[in-house]
């Protein structure tokens, strides 16, 4: 019972991690870059959302509805103003540029919001739970998981069936050839980053509702996103989703073994996957 509960908790936690991981998988898939500020943007959006709730009296769902477009705008701007200059074969410039931005962003948040941990009030939804068989499952974590599943399915459908999705897949396969048939790579990239950071608007709202956020937390979210993407297999949206579930379960079970061991268990599973199956568990044949 103890373990089944752990697994269920882990899958629910994985729903949150999937929301971090989707955007990273998308951006790496098309541009081969990692945005080191990925986690910091979750925190930034969460803090913005909490301030909205505090000063404008917005409820959690209004916060969500505000943060997604704000995230998309931030992502679009980030790509246009900065990342488009550093996309290329050399991984160094994009990594260093976003690394520098990450430090600046963390400290800027520290100046604006101080080091306090904050959270977003959900108006009672945090305490609600439903009984499924012998288990009590929190309503909020369940919403998060459903939301993650819908986001993953939606993103997958966009990539498969829309004009934008086709142009993105073409640019991932061969960016120069895509440009040669009329695709504007920079605008594909800007939209990809806008989607990636827009999804972080969901992640930020749920993170702030489920637990707390503080300006220095970003690197952890970045690492969880990264681990989920690698565990699941590069370049696959559902792979990132499943990787997030595996990471969540690993952490939840680790936590049950020893509270100090939870996060570490996730790292260990990540390293084990790298050792045993470096292409990721769900990597499609290339």
């Amino acid at each position: 019972m103890h373990w089944i509960e752990g697994i269920v908790q882990g899958i629910l936690l994985g729903g949150l991690y999937a929301q971090y991981a989707l955007g990273m998988a998308l951006m790496f898939g098309v541009m081969k870059i990692v945005n080191v500020t990925h986690g910091d943007l979750v925190i930034l959006l969460a803090l913005i959302g909490i301030s909205f709730a505090d000063f404008a009296g917005l409820g959690p769902w209004s916060v969500l509805a505000t943060l997604v477009p704000i995230g998309a705008a931030i992502g679009w701007l980030l790509q246009r103003a900065m990342l488009n200059r550093v996309v290329g074969n050399d991984p160094l410039p994009s990594l260093i540029a976003t690394f520098g931005l990450s430090i600046a962003l963390q400290n800027a948040m520290l100046v604006v919001w101080s080091a306090d941990t904050r959270s977003l009030s959900g108006g009672g939804i945090q305490q609600a739970s439903i009984e499924i068989g012998p288990l009590f499952v929190g309503v909020l974590p369940l919403i998060v998981l459903i939301c993650a599943t819908l986001l993953t399915g939606g993103l997958d459908a966009v990539l498969r069936f829309t004009r934008y999705g086709r142009s993105l897949r073409a640019a991932s396969a061969d960016v120069e050839a895509a440009a040669m048939v009329g695709v504007n790579p920079k605008s594909v990239y800007a939209t990809a980053t806008a989607i990636a950071v827009g999804i972080l608007g969901f992640a930020a709202t749920f993170q702030a509702m489920r637990s707390t956020v503080a300006p220095a937390d970003g690197p952890f979210q970045l690492i969880y996103a990264f681990e989920a993407v690698i565990i699941g297999g590069l370049g696959s949206i559902w792979g990132a989703f499943t990787g997030a579930m595996i990471l969540g379960v690993s952490q939840a079970i680790g936590f049950r073994i020893n509270p100090g061991f939870g996060i570490l268990a996730g790292h260990i599973v990540f390293l084990a996957v790298l050792a045993i199956r470096p292409q990721g568990i769900f990597q499609r044949k290339s």
Binding site: L95, I96, F99, I103, L105, Q106, A108, I223, P278
Partner: protein, 330 residues
Amino acid sequence: MSYRVERMTTSGRIALLIGAVALGAIISMPWWASQGLIRDVITLACYIAVAQMWNMLAGYGGLVSVGQQAFVGVAAYAMFVLAQTFGVNPFVAVGLSLIAPALLAVPIYLLLHRLEGPYFAIGTWVVAEALRLVATNMPLVNGGAGMSLRVMTQFSAHERAIAGSILAALLLLVTVGGSYLLLRSRYGIALTAMRDNPVAARSQGVDVQRLRFWIFVAAAVGTGFAGAVYFMVQLRITPPSAFSMEWANLAIFIVMVGGIGSIEGVLIGAVIYFFADRWFGEYGASYLIVLGLLTLMTALFFREGLWGLWRRKFDAPWFPTRRTLVQGDR
């Protein structure tokens, strides 16, 4: 008519002389410098060493790591355990502790080298995080409470100053001097070729994977050496300080602002970082915002750094590695 290959330049000879004098000055510090100055110089030497090792990785090996703190922490902890728990002479322990990063670097490289460029970097970060958590949960190193190097009290302040100064000089000799020798050797040509174009280097018979592996291990040892020396002087270690992101941060700032792919750049960058930290460190977050933005700007607009800018104007390398064909007999 005869030709010969020339590598040394006048500027290089002057720099070599200044370097030798500087090392001599560092070793003799206990007899002329204040405790504070000695501490500062040792700290600066550690910065230079960590940054130069990162420079070898990212600037030549094409291995961008943001997890070098893993090796700082592991070597420093190994040193503390050997000296404090097992009673090994601390100065001997610094030497022995270098085995730990060397051994650790092997599996880390084997695991992570499969990850593409930027993912390799985040992978190193995960490893460093994992090691921090291991240290936090490990009774042998007193967990999250950290350790103090109480055994150092058996030595007088003067004795500690002598050891620290010698270690700092040795650290610079090994990391900066060692890098320079490596770059001047036949491996240096391969490394420079690899920096400029790994695919072409591979097609010219450079075993890129093998070279990368050895650079990764060597950089781990050099970085670990700096960590062991740094925390020996600090006398205290905790998991957050040993495995701090600050190490990656400072290495990246120093190398990028100074000029990646050059030893001169590291020296310039390290001095800038050291004084910036001294003068503006009290501003805390605002100072770090500026530091982060400077790193960002360098990566965007200014990729060759200060040394690259200087080099465009003056061809006077301090550490010449280029071979020049000169006409006439010696």
